[in-house]
C-alpha cells in the first residue's frame, strides 16, 4: 500500500506547504485549521490581519505550523510579495486553496454598477489568477490547486435567497479556469480542481442573508433548497479540500467536487 492509503487518519497532508486564501473566516478558516491538524504547514492569507492572526494563533496553540499572510487577493503586488515570503520560509508550495470570495451585490444585473461588478470579479476570479500565477512556479514538487466555485457556478438562482448574476458569473469563470489550468499543468504533476459548496453556515452567508432584510426567513428558505434539510458546516467543505489536497486524490484533476446537501441532484 502507498502512504496515501495508510490506515492512519491523522497526517493526511503531513509535510505539505499550503497557502489558503480567505483563511480568516468561515470555510477558509476551517480549512486552514484542518490542513494544519493533518500535518500541513499553512500560510493563513486574509485581508483582515486580526482574524488571520487568530487563525495563526489557533494553529500554533495546537502545535501546528502557520504563517500570517495579510493580503487582498485582488492586489497582484501584494499576492506576489506574500507568496514570495512563504517560499522563502518553507521553500515551496504544495497546496493552494483559493477560498477568498465575495457574495457581492444582490441586485438584478440592470442595476449593477461597473464598480460593483469589478470588485466581485477582482476578488473571485482575478484573485485566483494572481495566486495561481505566483504559486505555480513554487510548486516544484507537483501540487494541488483547489479553487472555490459554488453551486451557483453550476445552476442559476434569482430569488431573495440566492445571489445574483455577477456572483454566478464569477463562479462559472472559476470552473473554466480550473479546467484549463488542469490541462495546462497535468504534465507537471499539478492538479487543479474546483469545489462547489451549497449554502454553508459562514459569515459570508450570514451577511448575505442579513442583506435580504429578513435573515430568519431567508435562512429557512436557503435551508429548504438542500434536500438534506439544512445549511452545511464549514468542516463539511474542509474535509473535501483535505481530500483534494492529499495524495489520496492524486488521480483527480479538472473536476468539481460538489458538496451541497443534494441541492443540484434535483
Amino acid at each position: 500500500m502507498t502512504t496515501a492509503s495508510s490506515s492512519v487518519s491523522s497526517g493526511r497532508v503531513t509535510g505539505k506547504v499550503a497557502f489558503v486564501t480567505g483563511a480568516g473566516r468561515g470555510i477558509g478558516r476551517a480549512t486552514a485549521i484542518m490542513l494544519a491538524q493533518h500535518g500541513a504547514k499553512v500560510a493563513v492569507a486574509d485581508r483582515d490581519a486580526d482574524v488571520a492572526q487568530e487563525v495563526v494563533d489557533t494553529i500554533e496553540s495546537m502545535g501546528g505550523a502557520a504563517a500570517l499572510a495579510v493580503v487582498d487577493v485582488a492586489d497582484e503586488d501584494g499576492v506576489r510579495q506574500v507568496i514570495g515570503e512563504v517560499v522563502d520560509r518553507w521553500n515551496r508550495i504544495d497546496v493552494l486553496v483559493n477560498c477568498a470570495g465575495l457574495a457581492g451585490i444582490q441586485k438584478p444585473i440592470h442595476e449593477v454598477t461597473t464598480a460593483e461588478y469589478d470588485r466581485v470579479m477582482d476578488v473571485n476570479v482575478r484573485g485566483i489568477f494572481h495566486t495561481t500565477k505566483y504559486a505555480i512556479p513554487a510548486m516544484t514538487n507537483g501540487g494541488s490547486v483547489i479553487n472555490f466555485s459554488s453551486i451557483y457556478g453550476l445552476v442559476g438562482g434569482a430569488s431573495a435567497e440566492s445571489p445574483y448574476s455577477v456572483y454566478q458569473a464569477s463562479k462559472g469563470a472559476v470552473l473554466g479556469m480550473s479546467r484549463g489550468d488542469a490541462m495546462m499543468y497535468a504534465s507537471q504533476g499539478i492538479r487543479v480542481n474546483s469545489i462547489c459548496p451549497g449554502f454553508i453556515d459562514t459569515p459570508m452567508v450570514a451577511g448575505f442573508l442579513e442583506r435580504t432584510g429578513d435573515a430568519a426567513a431567508a435562512r429557512t428558505a436557503a435551508a429548504a433548497l438542500h434536500p438534506l434539510g439544512d445549511l452545511g458546516e464549514p468542516d463539511d467543505i474542509a474535509y473535501g479540500v483535505l481530500y483534494l489536497a492529499s495524495d489520496e486524490s492524486k488521480f483527480v484533476t479538472g473536476t468539481a467536487l460538489v458538496i451541497d446537501g443534494g441541492m443540484t441532484a434535483a
Binding site: 490506515s7 487518519s9 434536500p227 484533476t253 479538472g254 443534494g262 443540484t264
Partner: protein
Amino acid sequence: MGRLQDKVAIVTGGSGGIGKATARRFLEEGAKVTIVDLSRESLEQTAAELAGLGDLLTVEADVTQEDQTKNYVDKTVEAFGTVDVLFNNAGIESKIQPLVEVTVEDFERVQSVNVTGVFLGLKHVLPILTAKRSGSVINMSSNGGLDGTLYLGPYITSKHAVSGMTKTAALEVAAYNVRVNSVHPCPVNTRMMREIESGFSPEDSVAAEKDFASRIPLGRYAEPDDVANVVVFLASDESTFLTGAQYRIDGGMGATP
C-alpha cells in the same frame, strides 16, 4: 480511531480489483466488511488476502437476483448487527461492438448486473438506513456514465442509468439523513480493462492500453486505490453534507472535449 470506525459496510463485486482495494481500505479504517461476489473461490482467495485486517464476512451472491441480494443483506445484519454503508460496485463490461450489432441478450445481461444489481442493493439496504436515519450508499458508475464513447453501448447505457438512479435515490432518502452518491472513474487498472483492451485490439492489446492512457491528461490509468480513497471519503462522516453528487476520478478526462 479509523475514519470508518465500527461502521458496517457491504462491498459488492468485492473480489474484483476496485472492490477488493476498497474492502481493504474500509477494514484499515475500522469498518466491519461484507464482501459479495459470484464465486466462492474468488471470495475465499480475497478473504485470505485481507485476513487479519478486521472483521470480514464473505457472501456468495448473484446481484441480479433479489433473493440473493436479500440474503447478503440479511447475513450482514446477522453477523454485524446492522448496515451503515453499501458500495454497489459489482459490474461487467460489454463486448466491443457497435450498438446495431449488440444482441438483445447481451444488452439485457449488462443492464441486469450494472443497473438491476444496483437497484436491488438500494431496495434492500435503504430501508435499514432510513430507519436509523444515517448511512451512505456509493454507486459505481464510470466516466462512461457521464460521457459517451464508441462501441461500448450497453455498458455506457448502464452507467448513465446508475447516474440517474443515484440522483433519484438521493432525493428520496435525503429527508432521512441518508446519502447516495456515484463515483465515475476513467479506465482503472483491472481485469475489466484488460478485456476491453483485447476487445478493441485483439492483436495488440498493449497498443490499445497506450492509446487509452494517452487520452488521460495525467497520462495513466487509475489504480484501484485511487477509487477506493474517494469511496472511503463518501462512506465516512466527513461527507455528511454530500448527496446526489457525481465524483470523477478520471485523471482530468472530464475536462477534455
